[in-house]
C-alpha cells in the first residue's frame, strides 16, 4: 500500500494547503459541494477543514447510496422481506435505515424475516444457488459504481438459468442528481468536487454536458485526502479565472470515455426510469435505472406484489435539506439528541458516508468549544 501513502504525505498536504490559502481571494467566499459520501468521509476523517481557509466552505452532497433512498423504498425492502418469505440480501448500511413508523430491516430480522447482509451481489447469487427452494432477492442500491456488478450478477443468473434470483433495483444516476440540486435553486454552489469511482465507470463526458448546461466547474478527483485538496485548489483557480471546465485530477483511474465494458453491460440489463423518488431531491426525471424487459423475470418489482404503508417521514429529520446542502447536520434539531449513530433517526446518520454520521463521528468536538 505504498500507493496510498503517496496520497497522504504531510509535506505535500501542507504545500497544497498553503497554495490554496494563497490562491483564495480573501474578499469572497467559495462554496464547493463534494458530491460523494466518500469525499465527505475523507474530509471529516483527515480533518481537511483545518487545512482550508475560513472562506472556503465544503458543502456535503447527496452521494451516499442509502441516504438518498426515500422512505417508500426502505418500506419496500421491509415488505419484501416480511411478505413473501424471501431471503433478502442487502448491503449492511441499509439494515438500520429507518422506514415508515421507525421500522427497519434490523427490526424485521429480529422479528424473524430472513435478511442477509452481503458484501457483494455475488454473495446473493451464491445464496440463490445454495437454496434452490427459496426466492433470493438482492436489494440493489448505489450509484454507477455498484451498478455494473449488479448487471454482471443478472447476466450470470440468466446464463445459469437460475429462476429463484431477482433484483430489487434502486440504482441511481449521479449527473441527474447534480442537476436536480441546482434546479432546486436553494443551494448556492460555486463548483463541484466530482465523483471518483463513479467517474471511473461513466467517464468525464456527462460532466462536460453538465458544466455546459449549468455553468459550474467540476473537478473529478479521488477519495484520498491529497486528491481532495488538489481538487479544491483547481476549483479555486477556475473560479478566480472565470473558467468553467471539467478537470480530471483523477486521471490515474478515470478516462474520458470511462469503462466501456461496464457501460455496455449496464445498457444490456438496465434502462432509464421515467422518474425516481430521491430523499431530499423529490421526484427526479431520468435519474434511476430499472431492469429492461428482456430481464423482466429477474425484476423483483415485477415479480412480487407488495402491500406498502403510506410512507411517513420523520418530520423533524432534516436529511432532505442536508442532502441538498441547504442545511448542515448540526442545523437539524435532532442532531446529537436524540439522533446519533447508535440511534439513527435519519439515513444520513446511519452510513459512514452520510454527512450527519461523518460530522458526529469525526467533527463534533469542533461544535462546542471545550471550556
Amino acid at each position: 500500500m505504498k500507493y496510498v501513502e503517496e496520497f497522504r504525505d504531510p509535506a505535500l498536504a501542507k504545500g497544497l494547503s498553503d497554495a490554496i490559502a494563497r490562491a483564495a481571494d480573501p474578499d469572497r467566499t467559495y462554496r464547493f459541494m463534494e458530491f460523494c459520501g466518500g469525499h465527505t468521509h475523507a474530509i471529516a476523517r483527515f480533518g481537511l477543514e483545518d487545512l482550508l481557509p475560513g472562506n472556503i466552505r465544503m458543502i456535503h452532497g447527496p452521494g451516499c447510496p442509502v441516504c438518498v433512498l426515500p422512505v417508500a423504498r426502505v418500506d419496500a425492502a421491509i415488505a419484501l422481506a416480511t411478505q413473501h418469505d424471501v431471503i433478502l440480501c442487502t448491503y449492511g448500511d441499509l439494515m438500520r435505515v429507518p422506514g415508515s413508523g421507525f421500522r427497519s430491516l434490523t427490526k424485521a430480522r429480529a422479528a424473524g424475516a430472513d435478511i442477509r447482509m452481503v458484501y457483494s451481489v455475488m454473495d446473493a447469487l451464491a445464496l440463490a444457488r445454495a437454496h434452490p427452494d427459496r426466492e433470493v432477492v438482492f436489494f440493489a442500491i448505489g450509484f454507477e459504481t455498484t451498478t455494473p456488478p449488479t448487471a454482471v450478477a443478472i447476466l450470470q443468473a440468466a446464463k445459469e438459468g437460475l429462476t429463484n434470483f431477482s433484483v430489487h433495483c434502486n440504482h441511481v444516476l449521479t449527473p441527474a442528481a447534480m442537476r436536480a440540486i441546482l434546479a432546486g435553486g436553494d443551494t448556492e454552489i460555486d463548483g463541484f468536487v466530482g465523483p471518483s469511482h463513479v467517474s471511473a465507470v461513466i467517464g468525464t463526458g456527462p460532466y462536460v454536458e453538465f458544466t455546459r448546461d449549468h455553468a459550474k466547474p467540476v473537478v473529478i478527483t479521488g477519495f484520498e485526502p491529497l486528491d481532495v485538496l488538489q481538487a479544491v485548489l483547481q476549483l479555486v483557480r477556475q473560479v478566480n479565472e472565470g473558467r468553467i471546465e471539467v478537470e480530471n485530477e483523477y486521471a490515474r483511474a478515470v478516462s474520458d470515455a470511462g469503462n466501456l465494458v461496464a457501460q455496455q453491460m449496464m445498457a444490456r440489463v438496465f434502462t432509464l426510469r421515467d422518474r425516481f423518488e430521491w430523499r431530499g431531491l423529490g421526484w427526479v426525471d431520468h435519474s434511476a435505472l430499472r431492469l429492461t424487459d428482456a430481464f423482466a423475470s429477474f425484476d423483483a418489482e415485477r415479480r412480487f406484489a407488495l402491500e406498502l404503508p403510506t410512507p411517513t417521514e420523520n418530520k423533524a429529520c432534516a436529511c432532505g435539506d442536508v442532502l441538498r446542502g441547504v442545511k448542515t447536520p448540526v442545523e437539524c434539531a435532532l442532531y446529537g439528541d436524540p439522533c446519533t449513530p447508535e440511534n439513527p433517526l435519519g439515513a444520513c446518520m446511519v452510513s459512514s458516508e452520510g454527512a450527519c454520521a461523518a460530522d458526529w463521528t469525526y467533527g463534533r468536538f469542533r461544535r462546542e468549544a471545550a471550556s
Binding site: 504531510p10 459520501g37 480533518g47 483545518d50 447510496p65 448505489g142 468536538f365
Partner: protein, 335 residues
Amino acid sequence: MTRQVDMSHGAGGRAMARLIDDLFRAALDNPALARGHDAALLDLPPGRVVMSTDSFVISPLFFPGGDIGSLAVHGTVNDIAMGGGVPQALTAGFILEEGFPLADLERIVASMAKAARAAGVSIVSGDTKVVERGKGDGVFINTTGIGVVPDGVTIDPAQAQVGDAVLVSGTLGDHGVAIMASREGLEFGTDLTSDAASLNHMVAAMLRVAPDMRVLRDPTRGGLAAAVNEIAQASGVGIELDEATLPLRPEVRGACELLGLDPLNVANEGKLLAICPPARAEALLQVMQADPLGRDAAIIGRVIDDPRCFVRMRTGLGGARMVDWIAGEQLPRIC
C-alpha cells in the same frame, strides 16, 4: 474413523474420566490439577487479589498466529495484568459440541498449555460439558484467572490526569485484520498473523520502572478507539492522539483501506495501552521497546482537559478529528 466428541464425554462416566485424564491433565500437568479435586487449593503471595473472567467464541477456531486455546489463556492473563496483577492461576471451562474432532481438541489444549507455560501460570481447575450437535460451534472456552497486585501499585481506568502520557505497545489492528482475512478468505497477498500474546511479563517490567502507572488497558474488541474513550470517560478527561505516531503495519493499513475500516476500531489481542505521569514516559518506552512484544511501542498522545471527555486526533495531514467508538458493526463502504 476420526475420533470425535460424543455425548458420553460430558455425562460424568468413565468416558469423561478418560478424556480428562488423557487429554487435559496430561497436557496441562500441574500439582493442583493432579490432585483431582473439584476445587484447587492455592498458596498465594501476599497482596491484593485481582480476578477476571472471559468467554471465547471465535470463528475460525484456528487462525494465523493462534487458536481459540491460546487466545483463551492470553485474554484472561492480560485482563489480570491490566489490573496490575501478577497472574497466579487460571481455570478453564469447555463447552464442546458433539462431533467435534478430538484431534482438534488436543491441538487446542496443547496450545493452551504452551501459552500458560509461556505466561508462567497454571491451569488449576477445569470443567467440560458436551452439547448436542448443532447447539454449539465446535468449542467454546471460558477462562477465569486470579492474580496478586504488588504493594504500591494501583491501576485504575479512572486515574488518568491532565498532562499524562499515552503509550501503546505495538502495531494496531493485527489480530482483527488477520481474523477477518482468514474468515472471509480474503487475499491481501500478505501473511499477517494475529498478535495474540500474554503481556504479563512486559507489564511486570513496566511496573518496576513506573510503579505509579495510572492506567493499563488491552485494546481488544472495539480497538484502540474504544479503549481510549473508556479511559477518557472514566477519568473525566480528554485525550489527544497524534496519528503520525501510531504504529501500523503497512499490510494492516492497506487491508483496512480496501475494506473501508478504521484500524483504530480493529481488535488487538497482544497489545496494551499505558497511561503514566509524563516524567515516566521515556523510561517506560525504553522498557517496553526492550521487550520482544513491545518492540514497536510508541508514545502516541497525551491526556488533556476536556469536560466532554472527547478523544481527538491530530491527523497525519495536520488537521484534527474525533476518535469515536464505532456504532454497530464496521461495514465496508459502497460508494
